[in-house]
């Protein structure tokens, strides 16, 4: 029984104390049996406050600690480490979640939230009073990582993991690597093209023996947990032999009678059913789009490399961690949104970037020469209603960069920017300055009075009440209207169902904590990076990829994982060996054994995973689970009911 308990109640800035009266909570629990120290703290996780706890524990010879703060998913390990630094066993620490499950959940009811917080802290005290010290033990961790997504973030992460000596399986759903970056021409700030960047990364991936790349590959199933994930991967064939005759293959592509919208150019051009997106694209073998192929046989007649006998393959891999970098999709405007889909010269920013790349001497779209271009900002971002309330962050910089590029590449271009305020943060501000110097015109409105795109006498016009000139109505006749579209999460229903990574209000994957644990998810062993966790530019994606690679590797680098000793234990006096517990154990961790001459159940400690399935089936209540003992649970129930 612990009798010298320290209790710390965190304000979490105002995240908790704005809704929970933390002083009242402290006063309500400071005289609970065994409580020796009770304090409130602005940020319990702050270094100085952690040190204060260590000092309190040592000075007062505390035998156990409770911190009431955020979710244990965020800071359980932090405060267990505080307990250990002060010389306590970390299992003599109990965490009370009064942020996610109290202050935030009940921000509509402050007195109710305070009452709930009091009960939760009391129940944590009641639990820690009977908590027992335990020792951790280890399991093997497979030293390999699966990286899902072969875009910039995925390839960068794979290379980093490979450099650390970690075998990597890189899984890309499409038949070509590079994601959206492959579609961009010159990039800010390096002036390298997207294709060059992808090529550089692909060459590095290909040169690494410990990276196995699968394209056209999708995860079909996932089992296991951290240190021991098993993934089943479906690999769709390219229907073209690896060593192919390039000349004949090119003739076969030309002979293909199928024309479908080319996704690489965002539908502004057509492609064949046999295709590659650009010369030298990686992997360098084209692919047959089997969904659109009519099997007319024309390509087979020309090129011996076509091979329709190739079959879908299934592969099972065993890894210790999974890194998810599945990227984003550009927002597609709704029919009629700023004239999209109704006026033929209204396009999106990604389409515009492809047009700049595809045109050579003069800028022409749908047979018409382009001189005046209007850019409508924040389309699909910062929307007052719907899912896309967030700022996509990259688009201001991207469109200004494109506007500068288009002026550099083609003559007589006039750029008109219809903005809602420019967000070219950091070094990107230099680009904005360049654009102003080049004579681009900037107009601005608020969200409640957006610009209007309309057609008048066969001309497309954009009208705005410009707040920079006292809401004066301005209109521009535009040859081309570019909708500056933001990022949305990539469609990944199957993967979302399999991995169950929580998603936030914006529908992007959620990290545990934006600042403190920015690439970890609540699913142990699964990390996220790049634009799948929120809008990012290429630099930011690469940074987060390095972070996720390091985190994933840190789980498994030692080849073993330290696991919590939360395992079943048998009360030898009560047990009569009926065998029911052994029947329900999914790991065969329980066998018949002997205590003297008496037959009893015996737990094989390293095999027991601590699921507790054996607990409720015992007719004599002879099994308990460490950290979830009858005394602990019943004490908590009593305190919560009190």
């Amino acid at each position: 029984m612990n009798t010298k308990i320290g209790v710390y109640i965190c304000h979490c800035g105002g995240n908790i104390s704005d809704y929970v009266d933390v002083e009242k909570v402290k006063q309500a629990v400071e005289h609970e049996e065994g409580v020796m120290v009770a304090k409130t703290t602005i940020f319990a996780c702050g270094d100085a406050n952690q040190q204060e706890m260590v000092d309190d524990i040592q000075k007062n010879k505390l035998d156990s600690v409770v911190v009431a703060s955020c979710s244990p998913k965020l800071h359980l390990a932090t405060f267990q480490a505080v307990a250990e630094r002060a010389g306590l066993n970390k299992y003599n620490y109990v965490h009370a979640n009064i942020r996610e499950q109290v202050s935030w959940a009940h921000s509509d009811n402050k007195p109710g939230a305070t009452d709930k917080a009091i009960k939760i802290v009391r129940s944590a005290i009641a639990r820690v009073r009977v908590a027992e010290p335990l020792e951790s033990f280890s399991i093997n961790a497979k030293k390999a990582v699966a990286v899902i997504g072969g875009g910039i973030a995925g390839m960068k992460a794979a290379i980093e993991l490979s450099s650390m000596g970690c075998p990597v399986t890189l899984i890309e759903r499409e038949h070509f690597v590079g994601g959206h970056t492959a579609q961009w021409d010159f990039l800010f700030t390096s002036n390298e093209t997207g294709k060059e960047l992808v090529t550089r990364l692909y060459n590095e991936v290909a040169a690494r023996e410990n990276i196995k790349l699968y394209t056209g590959a999708e995860i079909m199933s996932q089992t296991g947990s951290i240190g021991d994930f098993r993934l089943k991967i479906k690999i769709t064939p390219r229907y073209i032999k690896e060593k192919c005759h390039k000349g004949n293959l090119q003739k076969a592509i030309e002979a293909c009678p199928v024309d479908v919208p080319d996704e690489f150019n965002f539908g502004i051009t057509q492609r064949k059913a046999i295709f590659h997106n650009f010369p030298s694209e990686y992997p360098q073998i084209p692919v047959i789009d089997i969904k659109n192929c009519t099997r007319c046989g024309k390509c087979e007649a020309i090129c011996e490399s076509i091979d329709f006998s190739q079959k879908e393959e299934t592969l099972e891999i065993h890894v210790g961690s999974v890194l998810v970098a599945v990227g984003f999709d550009p927002y597609t405007p709704a029919e009629g949104e700023f004239g999209y889909g109704q006026l033929e010269n209204v396009i999106t920013l990604p389409q515009f970037k492809r047009i700049i790349d595809l045109n050579d001497r003069s800028l022409v779209y749908k047979g018409k020469k382009i001189r005046d271009i209007a850019y409508v900002y924040c389309v699909g971002s910062r929307q007052p209603e719907g899912d896309n309330k967030y700022c996509s962050r990259y688009c201001c910089t991207s469109v200004i960069h494109a506007a500068i590029q288009v002026k550099k590449k083609f003559s007589h271009i006039n750029n008109y920017h219809f903005t809602r305020g420019i967000r070219t943060y950091g070094k990107q501000e230099l680009l904005y300055n360049d654009s102003l110097k080049a004579g681009d015109i900037y107009l601005q409105s608020y969200e409640d009075d957006p610009p209007v795109v309309f057609s008048e006498n066969g001309k497309t016009k954009v009208k705005i009440n410009d707040i920079l000139t006292g809401k004066k109505e301005m209109s521009v006749e535009a040859d081309l209207v570019v909708l500056v579209t933001g990022m949305v999460p990539r469609e990944n229903k199957a993967l979302n169902t399999l991995l169950k990574i929580p998603r936030g209000r914006d529908n992007f994957y959620n990290e545990i904590h934006m600042k403190l644990r920015p690439v970890e998810t609540v699913i142990d062993g699964i990390t996220i990076c790049g634009a799948c966790q929120g809008p990012k530019n290429i630099t930011e994606s690469a940074n987060s990829a390095l972070s996720a690679a390091t985190k994933s590797y840190s789980y498994i680098s030692r080849g073993e994982l330290s696991l919590e000793p939360v395992i079943a234990k048998i009360d030898e006096e009560k047990c009569t060996w009926c065998g029911l517990c052994a029947e329900v154990c999914p790991y065969n961790a329980i066998q018949k054994g002997k205590s003297g001459t008496k037959e009893i159940a015996v737990i094989n400690d390293p095999v027991c995973k601590g699921c507790g399935m054996c607990l409720p089936v015992c007719p004599y209540d002879a099994i308990e689970l460490n950290s979830y003992t009858n005394r602990e649970i019943e004490n908590m129930i009593d305190a919560l009911a009190g």
Binding site: N97, A113, S225, G504, P586, C611, G612, L625
Partner: protein
Amino acid sequence: MPGISIKSARILVFSTEKISDPAIDMAGLLKLHYPPTVYTITVPCSSSIKPKWILRAYEKGFDGVFIAADGSDCPYGETCTEKTGKLVQRTHEIMKEKNIEPARLKMAAICSVCSESFVKQMKNFNEYLLKNIS
């Protein structure tokens, strides 16, 4: 202040560390409100809950007990659903013997992203308990 004067049933939730806890946390993050008299006790797996813990909750004054079950997502294996179902069935039988309305024990699968579903379950269960039990 909204919500204060509304009486709420006292509900004890047995939630699982890896699956339903993240959903309940995310409900808070998303400011999806539910009655503040809903309290959570975390267990590793929903099939590890002892019927005597559930019965103790009623004995101590809880109006309802909700098992936020792992369902098919259980990291400990696919037999979890069946085993949790059995322990609920067994507890229902004991409840009948003790003249405790079996509807006061409810179970539903709550996956790691099922925040809205959790909140809906809590609101509905609260309404049911207020109408029929409290």
